[in-house]
Symmetry: C2
Subunit: 297 residues, 2 copies
């Protein structure tokens, strides 16, 4: 999708890749599909722990292949996430809301059921699956007769950004790939710039999909195939979210606005450039997101 009014406002030529229109409402369907298509022979059940879109995506992808699925979720996960996982037919096992409890509970599920674990981002199959979005971007731009200067992808655990970097390096190495993350969860930028992966942080951001810390495989690929990682303020994320709702009429979640926020926060990098912005998903607490947008133009 494109928006003439946003292009005029921002002095760039922007193309939005609409992953909120993907199955399960997020790019996560790509990695989960790719992973369930490659489970070891004889696998009957897959499992993961998730408080967000990966759980719903795995539940959906498993159902497509006739596999059973168990998702370990913290008791305090948003109702909308719990009901999405349940609606796709997965079994939910609740646990206390700590990483330790999630991992221990998942381990117990594996031991009792023999489930095959599919992690949310630090996994080659997941990274390759998320990278298919870049394959589509390159192909769709070619159909329109151009190659973009830049592709911008938000970064949390790094599955999407690593996959995009990898795919672009193979398919169209002249295109620059830029990561974008909230300043309040800037582990990817610090890891990228220092060369040492940051493994802990206290994230402070409305972009709930990007609070995760960068994975190990993801870090290696991002260092190799991504040009830079930029950060954006919470105010810029809210402003970008308001512009996306009002101007493009696309009902995306706060995490999905981080790419456009990067264009607004770093205008010199985008001036007169053709940039593809990945809109990552559209699943959210509507009242909370609307309160961020109301009153902004």
């Amino acid at each position: 999708m494109t928006s003439a009014s946003l292009n005029t406002l921002l002095g760039a030529d922007l193309y939005f890749k609409c992953e909120h229109l993907q199955k399960v409402g997020a790019f996560k369907a790509r990695g989960a599909s790719n992973a369930v298509l490659q489970v070891p022979d004889g696998t009957e059940i897959v499992a993961t722990h998730s408080s967000g879109n990966h759980g719903a995506a795995l539940a959906w992808a498993a159902a497509q292949q006739g596999l059973r699925c168990t998702v370990v979720m913290p008791e305090n996960a948003p109702e909308v996430k719990k009901s999405a996982v349940a609606a796709y037919g997965a079994e939910i096992v609740f646990c206390e809301p700590t990483l330790q409890a999630r991992e221990a509970t998942l381990q117990a599920v594996v031991q009792s059921s023999g489930a095959h674990v599919i992690p949310p981002f630090d996994d080659a199959r997941i990274i390759a699956g998320q990278g298919t979005v870049a394959q589509e971007i390159v192909g769709q731009c070619r159909e329109l007769g151009f190659a973009p200067d830049l592709i911008v992808a938000p970064v949390g655990g790094g599955g999407l950004l690593a996959g995009v970097g990898l795919a672009v390096s193979a398919l169209a190495p002249d295109i620059k790939v830029l990561g974008a993350e909230p300043a309040g969860a800037d582990d990817a930028q610090r890891s990228f710039r220092s060369g040492v992966r940051v493994t802990e942080q206290q994230p402070q951001t409305m972009a709930d999909g990007l609070r995760t810390t960068l994975g190990e495989r993801n870090f290696v690929l991002i260092r190799r195939y991504v040009q830079d990682v930029v950060t954006v303020s919470e105010a810029a994320i809210a402003e970008a979210l308001a512009l996306l709702w009002r101007r493009t009429k696309q009902f995306v979640e706060p995490s999905a606005a981080v790419g456009l926020a990067a264009v607004m926060a770093h205008p010199a990098r985008f001036r007169n450039k053709r940039a593809v912005i990945v809109l990552t998903g559209g699943n959210m607490d509507i009242a909370a997101a609307a309160s961020l947008v109301a009153g902004r133009s």
Copy 2:
């Protein structure tokens, strides 16, 4: 656009025509464009009175043709509507918020400036322009290899519904055209069923674009070319709005949800049918609309 989950939920095969993605964020750009392309020779300025999308659409269409535009607006019109009209370069003349004041002020504008008036719906050029949406629907469905059983369009003043009925009768008379309106503004249904145009009502509906009373030309065409007009409750509109935001991720306004609300309120008319629903626009007070949606699934 289509949604597999909505089709499963509602037992119908629904196609959404996305007029919220139209220029100015509403189908009104069609009628306004058609009208400004047919103004009398020598016209330098066009004018209308509007508290809604028609003012913005006329401002935009006039600017495209290098014409000046004056929009008479009630002082209490929403800020978002005032700023849209101003952003497209039109002059705004404020008046008191009564129909008499609006018409008297417009008359004064015409006398002082010689402006050519383009009314919002009771006008052959506007009706024909809005009807181009049906021309596109028929053509796009043919490209996909089918003809829809039904096209559903919301009805306020009746520009859209009359235009769709007229176009379908000429292009694909086997397709049924159904009007949908809020039960709290049911003048079109009462007019349609009694054969006598209702000219006054006290509208009570969140669908602010549909509070207008049916126009005269519109009434005649709707009686001739539309199969029926159905009404929907406010609860059904809110439920449909929530489904559109959550399932299709399209950020449409309450008036645009009235077509889907009709599918939900009258399931027997749609069971296993192929129906095209016109999503009419996406301009709204976000906080008010979000409060209708929050808490609904």
